[in-house]
Amino acid sequence: MRAVRSIFTCVLLGGLAAGGIAAAPALAQDAPTPPHQQWSWEGPFGTYDLAAAQRGFQVYSEVCSACHSMKELHYRDLAGIGLSPRQIKAIAAAVTVPDGVDDQGSPKEAPGTPGSQFRSPFPNDQAARAALNGALPPDLSEIVNAREGHADYVYAILNGFSDPPPGFKLQAGLNYNEYFPGHQIAMPQPLHDGQVTYADGTPNTVPQMAHDVVTFLAWAANPELVQRKQIGWRVVLFLVVMTGLTYAVKRKVWADVEH
């Protein structure tokens, strides 16, 4: 047993040793499986609930974006959750984004355009760590794809904050979360009841806001999903017909061969 573990560790850590890097201790994998939620984009016909995604974008803008970047997205992409070109222009113009250098060679900023990348809250990772007690908030562009459990996991994390159970030793500056591996997460509880005011009168409870922002993040991670399934149905139907025809041809060709 020990020998096997040591070979595995040896193989695994061989790279680390060669790279002169210390391995981070493996996190305890004792978090429960996130419960499955109903999501609008599931199944072969599922598409994004655009109203939820728009509300989710509002939650991201007003809450998450204070710490989390979404570097892979541009404001023009928001057409994918049903925003009009005018709305997108207004959203982009409301933020300032880096805009190269001026005549003196100093970095300058300008109002965003639809072609701008989503504004990042920090200029770089070091600045983020310095401001946030050493923690680095992950970029959210791909977060739904990048976690085991996907949308269910992100939803569970947003709803999973509580006081630690008695006897649990929480390190200073960390927060208790039932679904986070090891239960100690640097992010404080981000959503609180009534935090965001929805224009459409949807109740602004934590589960509702979490559901909306996860819908937005799922769209952000796989914006091609709707078009992909639409094309997919046509391709599959075509191939079903094609397979039938080809099989008929094959039968006809082989009809005169005893085999």
Partner: protein, 424 residues
């Protein structure tokens, strides 16, 4: 000065003109139209053609991806995101390429199983089989390097673990690893060369596949009965019979491929590879792609690194000598009552190894992977040599057109089968 012109008789004057100077049409006619092919193939014989189709899809999508990909550690991850989000139908091209790799391995593994089950590696097809093993090795190298290119966490750490395997070899090990990396860790030079080689190797693959097919066209195809072609009655011309049958297989294959690409494109991808590579943070579990899992399980089942590495590579290299390990003169498992069952035990062991490879090497998984790895080698090194001597094969049919003696459903020799030959 006039050399000898090729004697050609195509009715189309353009084809005739070209063919007398460069007889490619005569060659195609001979190798792909009238090429006499055993008439009793089952659908297992589709998988070679399927592998060709998927290789062409991989090369086409790969060329398009390379137009937008940046082989630089600072840009690679974002350039893949750019392909997925901004390039027109970039998501489609990438999902085809990404899932195409898995499809390529499924198809190739079934193709190899076909060879194992029906004894296609036996005389006179040994070299054909060995070229196939070279193709498998090239595919594995290509797939491994391709998986590094998106520069996600699993790309980086997979590359680190696998390249480090070479450090197990005494004395030369570490210099080899440094040489592979182009530095002292997996870094930009590694990514650059992997991109270069990932682009190169598929064309080497095409070359070896050409030899594989050329060898096939010298010795001819095996068939489910595993007996030699005895007369023209046993064969049909490749076209239209097998072009039609391969087309059915290709349509079904494309249908399955399309369902995966359009409805579950991330089914086989690891969430960790959506996180940019970070040399300072190791994922809690480093797992290769599914098609490497059985070999990964063999590697981890041995408590000595060098022995594990040797047994892992050995598990593929043993296939090179398979034609001489199997001492039975009978090809098809249909007529080998014991081999016919043991081959499935071997398949179960390989699948078992794959499951072990996906789990952390602790507790029962270590025990199981050792048992399966042992059986894997036992099958090739002990069972096949001994079984060939002990097993009493069933009586072989006289010919393909007159199959199993007393097997019922007596087909008509002559008349019905002669007809297709007239077209040839």
């Amino acid at each position: 000065m006039a050399g000898q012109q090729h004697d050609s008789n195509f009715s189309n004057p353009v084809i005739q003109w070209i063919d007398t100077r460069l007889p490619i049409f005569t060659m195609l006619q001979k190798e792909y139209a009238v090429f006499p092919t055993p008439k009793n193939f089952n659908y297992f014989w589709n998988f070679g053609a399927l592998a060709m189709v998927i290789l062409m899809i991989m090369i086409a999508t790969g060329i398009l991806l390379a137009m937008n990909y940046q082989p630089n550690t600072h840009l690679a991850f974002d350039s893949v995101q750019h392909i997925m989000r901004d390039v027109n139908y970039g998501w489609l091209i990438r999902y085809l390429h990404e899932n195409g790799a898995s499809m390529f391995f499924i198809v190739t593994y079934i193709h190899m199983f076909r060879g194992l089950y029906y004894g296609s590696y036996k005389k006179p097809r040994e070299l054909l089989w060995m070229l196939g093993v070279v193709i498998l090795l090239l595919m594995m190298a290509t797939a491994f390097m391709g998986y590094v290119l998106p520069w996600g966490q699993m790309s980086y750490w997979g590359a680190t673990v696998i390249t480090n395997l070479f450090s197990a070899f005494p004395i030369v090990g570490h210099p080899i690893v440094t040489w592979l990396w182009g530095g002292f860790s997996v870094d930009n030079p590694t990514l650059n060369r992997f991109f270069s080689l990932h682009y190169l190797l598929p064309f080497v693959l095409v070359g070896v596949i050409f030899l594989h097919v050329a060898a096939l066209h010298v010795v001819g195809s095996n068939n489910p009965l595993g007996i030699d072609v005895k007369s023209p009655q046993d064969t049909v011309p490749f076209h239209p019979y097998y072009t039609a049958k391969d087309s059915v297989g290709i349509c079904v294959f494309l249908l399955i491929f399309a369902i995966i690409v359009f409805f579950m494109p991330n089914l086989l991808s690891d969430p960790n590879n959506f996180i940019p590579a970070n040399p300072l943070q190791t994922p809690s579990d480093i797992v290769p792609e599914w098609y490497f899992l059985p070999f990964y399980a063999i590697l981890r089942s041995i408590p000595n690194k060098l022995a594990g590495v040797c047994l892992m590579f050995g598990s593929i290299l043993v296939l090179f000598v398979l034609p001489w390990l199997d001492t039975s003169p009978v090809r098809s498992a249909r007529f080998r009552p014991i081999y016919r069952q043991l081959i499935w035990v071997w398949v179960a062991a390989v699948i078992g190894l794959g499951i072990c490879g996906a789990n952390k090497p602790i507790g029962i998984w270590v025990v199981l992977s050792r048992i399966f790895a042992l059986y894997y080698y036992l099958h090739f090194l002990v069972i096949l040599p001994v079984l060939g001597k002990l097993e009493r094969p069933l009586p072989l049919p006289d010919s393909i057109s007159r199959p199993v003696i007393g097997g019922g459903g007596g087909p008509l020799p002559g008349g019905a089968t002669a007809k297709p030959m007239e077209k040839a």
